[in-house]
């Protein structure tokens, strides 16, 4: 159970990577942009991959009537997400430490994982809602209006995950280092659960 506790602590601590590295990354390439424009989505705000990428994305988006990319203070998520992550890290470390001291059951590890998963899915849902709004809530006086074959306005929503072609842009949306560290951390808490369960079962059968 000592080993499981340590793995639980390490797994939780990996979430701290989100404060240093982007959670997600969206890259926009086009014939005119051989060096693609890109945005890194951190839990506390959106930054350009290169210094002037956001300004240039906004500059291009004004043609199709998209709103500018939000500043941290324009979205509540960017102040709440860091608190949630810090809370989950503290909770995970405490559970891991108590597990190490064999004060709590391995089931708490699974509990943490499930809570984190629910929060993660809610976060993704929220992020996707923003993408929908960003890509389809367009200025009615936009310079260029593109419609789908059925006459409805085209949405410029970037994919939540994966690749999509939007007009002349190739859009790729994938997790970034912070996101991968979070996934590895969450996976480690599952490992901690599995290991803790194995040891505990062994102890009870003896």
């Amino acid at each position: 159970m000592k080993k499981a506790g340590i793995i639980m602590i390490i797994g939780s601590l990996l979430l701290l990577g989100l404060f240093k590295f982007p959670l997600w990354n969206i890259v926009l390439g086009a014939p005119q942009y051989p060096d693609p424009l890109g945005m890194n989505i951190f839990i506390n705000g959106i930054q350009g991959v290169e210094e002037f990428d956001l300004q240039n994305i906004d500059g291009l988006n004004h043609y199709i009537g998209m709103k500018t990319i939000p500043k941290p203070e324009e979205m509540w998520e960017f102040s709440v997400f860091p608190k949630v992550i810090i809370g989950m890290v503290i909770l995970g470390v405490v559970i891991g430490f108590l597990g190490f001291l064999e004060k709590v059951s391995y089931k708490f590890f699974l509990g943490w994982f499930l809570l984190m998963s629910i929060l993660g899915v809610l976060g993704m849902y929220d992020f996707n809602n923003w993408l929908i709004d960003y890509g389809s809530n367009l200025d009615p006086n936009a310079i260029i209006k593109v419609t789908n074959p059925d006459g409805t306005p085209m949405s410029y929503k970037p994919p939540l995950i994966g690749y999509q072609k939007l007009l002349n842009f190739d859009v790729d949306s994938w997790p970034h280092i912070g996101g991968y560290l979070m996934f590895v951390g969450m996976a480690l808490t599952l490992v901690a659960f599995w290991l803790g369960r194995k040891i505990t079962l062994k102890q009870t059968t003896q």
Binding site: D35, F52, G59, Y63, I143, I144
Partner: protein, 653 residues
């Protein structure tokens, strides 16, 4: 009678040597056909980059062109000494001061010899310098912005030809005068040239951090013509070598009268010694009048300052600083090999190439092996400084470059070829024709301690049938050769712009990553910038109307302006708000009698317009910037001079 005899003897010599030249060249293939392997060697696939930059002087265009090797594609023409309506250089208020001289505004020149800055004798790729030959000037071009940053005029000089060559740590950029002139200039009989005219060799210090140029001293040499020069390097660092012709000091019909002496000189200048002399208060400050023009990247604005004095040094007063090395027959190119030991004097009327030894020169100086003096400057004994000579390599040798493998490559104008020969043994190894009548040649780093070899290109004076004919006036031609093997292989034939004299080339890796993409708006210190909509305004100051305007895809702010009157002088101060690579905007005003503007991202430029007629007059963006480029336009309403319409301006109302 004398004259005819002379012409006849030259004619015979040319005929005799042409025969020899033919015999030699028949040993190797002289066919112009390109092998398929040559095509592969110059093929740069679409989207791929060339391996080298080449900077070719523009000659009478006054500019500098940037090419890629091995493709021979031209990437850019950088305006240096000439007004350039393409982007408004020399027309915009910010750049007009760059072309100020003591003669006033001189909007053109004849640019000759680019040279790239060096550190420890190797190309460092920070700046390229080039000389204006006609109105003596030296320019410094940044290799991050690829723009001309500084131009300094050279006083007491005329025909700034033996320039602009730099010492191995870019301590100095050196400018020698082709014409000797009265110093100071004065009203005197031309016939009194001999003994009275002077040839100024100018050492311009280069600030190691910013590159700023300042004349440290001028050596006032005898009234010869100083043709070309090169720095000593390695063991000869601290010396500078100049070829001379017209040591006869003729002032008329030079083609005959300056070709009489069997030998002219290479002047060897120990600049370190003169620098020490000057640092200790040597030389005299003489009144002068010359322009120093500096473009500031932060303010995007050039200023011109007239300097009023220059330090001159009489060489006979600095013992041991200057010596003359006899060199046959009006030498043209003066080239120093990578080790610094050999100084090649390309005697253009000589049948042989003369090579001096630096070691022997020092020895001759030490043992005072002098053969008289000229105006107090010791002449060294020819045999005592001679390292060797290349026997009858061709006709009309002009310039030599080096590959760093112990080989030298010399151009021959009359026999129209490049000859490869070996340093030390002086044997001819190979020869290849050029098309036609080659002047300079360039090997990347060929004027440094570390040539990069691989490529050599020859820049020709005569094109004739090489390309599709384009009327009586044609661009010159250049040929690229692969010199990595024992024999030179011609790879490519490409046209050049203006008249390239010398060129400097450098591996692309050294500079390409440092090439600027934008100017930062947050570093723009132009006093009339408008970096936000709130900064845009129109201000009247008497008859002057200042329009603070900016532009971003795809509009000008403001784009409707009223209250301008006939007789006003309108200044459009335009800031490009883009911070995206390769998104310049243009600005063109109907009836503008100067030029258009091309404004780079983050830059501010000013165009002056003097409206002549009442009406509503349009302006627009000239650079196809975006899908809505054609919509990027506006109007200025011009009212009669006595109108009382107030200034107003707007966007989107």
């Amino acid at each position: 009678m004398m004259k005819n005899k002379f012409k006849l003897s030259i004619g015979l010599m040319v005929a005799a040597l042409a025969f020899t030249g033919c015999n030699n060249s028949s040993q190797t293939s002289n066919k112009g056909a390109l092998g398929s392997s040559a095509a592969e060697k110059v093929f740069v696939a679409p989207g791929e980059h060339d391996s080298h930059y080449a900077f070719l002087s523009g000659g009478y265009s006054g500019n500098l062109t940037v090419y890629g090797l091995p493709s021979g594609r031209m990437f850019k023409e950088i305006p240096v000494f000439s007004q350039f309506p393409t982007n408004g250089y020399g027309y915009s208020e910010e750049t007009k001061p760059m072309l100020e001289t003591s003669f006033g505004f001189v909007p053109w020149d004849d640019s000759h010899h680019p040279d790239i800055s060096q550190t420890n004798g190797e190309l460092d790729g920070r700046w390229v310098f080039i000389n204006g030959n006609n109105t003596p000037r030296i320019a410094r071009i940044s290799l991050t912005s690829f723009e001309t940053e500084e131009i300094i005029e050279v006083p007491n000089s005329a025909g700034n030809h033996s320039s602009s060559f730099i010492t191995e740590n870019t301590e100095y950029v050196v400018a020698g005068t082709r014409f000797s002139v009265p110093v100071p200039q004065r009203d005197m009989s031309i016939k009194d040239y001999k003994g009275n005219f002077k040839g100024a060799l100018t050492f311009i210090s280069v600030d190691p951090e910013h590159g700023h140029m300042d004349i440290k001293f001028q050596v006032l040499m005898p009234g010869f013509n100083y043709d070309l020069s090169h720095p000593g390097r390695g063991k000869s660092h601290g010396w500078f070598f100049f070829t001379t012709y017209n040591t006869e000091e003729a002032n008329s019909l030079l083609e005959v009268n300056a070709s009489q002496n069997d030998k002219d000189f290479i002047a060897a200048i120990n600049w370190k010694k003169i620098e020490e002399y000057v640092n200790n208060g040597g030389g005299t400050m003489m009144p002068a009048n010359y322009a120093h023009n500096l473009h500031d990247e932060a303010t995007h604005t050039a200023t011109s300052t007239m300097k009023k004095e220059v330090r001159v040094v009489n060489p006979s007063e600095v013992p041991g600083a200057v010596y003359l090395l006899p060199t046959p027959k009006s030498p043209h190119g003066c080239d120093v090999d990578p080790s610094g030991e050999y100084i090649v004097g390309n005697g253009k009327l000589s049948a042989n190439l003369t090579v001096h030894s630096f070691t022997k020169m020092l020895d001759a100086i030490e043992n005072k092996k002098f053969d008289g003096d000229a105006y107090g400057i010791p002449i060294l004994n020819f045999e005592d400084v001679l390292a060797g000579s290349v026997q009858q390599p061709g006709l009309g040798p002009l310039h030599t470059e080096f590959d760093g493998q112990g080989n030298a490559y010399t151009t021959f104008f009359i026999s129209s070829e490049v000859v490869k020969w070996k340093l030390g043994t002086w044997e001819v190894l190979d020869r290849k024709p050029t098309y036609y009548s080659v002047g300079h040649l360039t090997i990347p780093g060929g004027n440094s301690r570390k040539p990069f070899g691989k490529y050599m290109f020859a820049m020709n004076k005569i094109t004739k049938d090489r390309y599709l004919p384009t009327g009586p006036e044609m661009e010159h031609s250049a040929q690229l050769y692969d010199i990595s093997g024992d024999k030179m292989e011609i790879l490519l034939d490409f046209p050049t712009h203006g008249e390239p004299h010398y060129a400097a080339a450098i591996p692309a890796e050294i500079i390409k990553s440092k090439s600027k993409k934008i100017y930062r708006l947050d570093e723009n210190e132009h006093p009339r910038k408008a970096i936000s909509e709130a900064d845009t305004k129109v201000v009247r100051d008497g008859k002057n109307v200042h329009i603070y305007m900016n532009m971003i895809r795809s509009h000008f702010t403001p784009d409707n302006i009223e209250g301008v009157k006939v007789g006003d002088k309108v200044f459009f101060h335009i800031t490009n708000l883009e911070q995206d690579f390769d998104v310049p905007h243009g600005f063109a005003m109907i009836g503008a009698r100067n030029a258009e503007l091309l404004v780079s991202p983050g830059q501010t430029r000013t165009l002056t317009w003097e409206p002549q007629q009442v009406g509503v007059w349009p302006f627009y963006c000239t650079d196809f910037c975006s899908a809505l480029h054609q919509e990027m336009q506006g109007y200025v309403r011009v009212s009669p001079a006595d109108s009382d319409i107030e200034l107003s301006w707007s966007l989107g109302e």
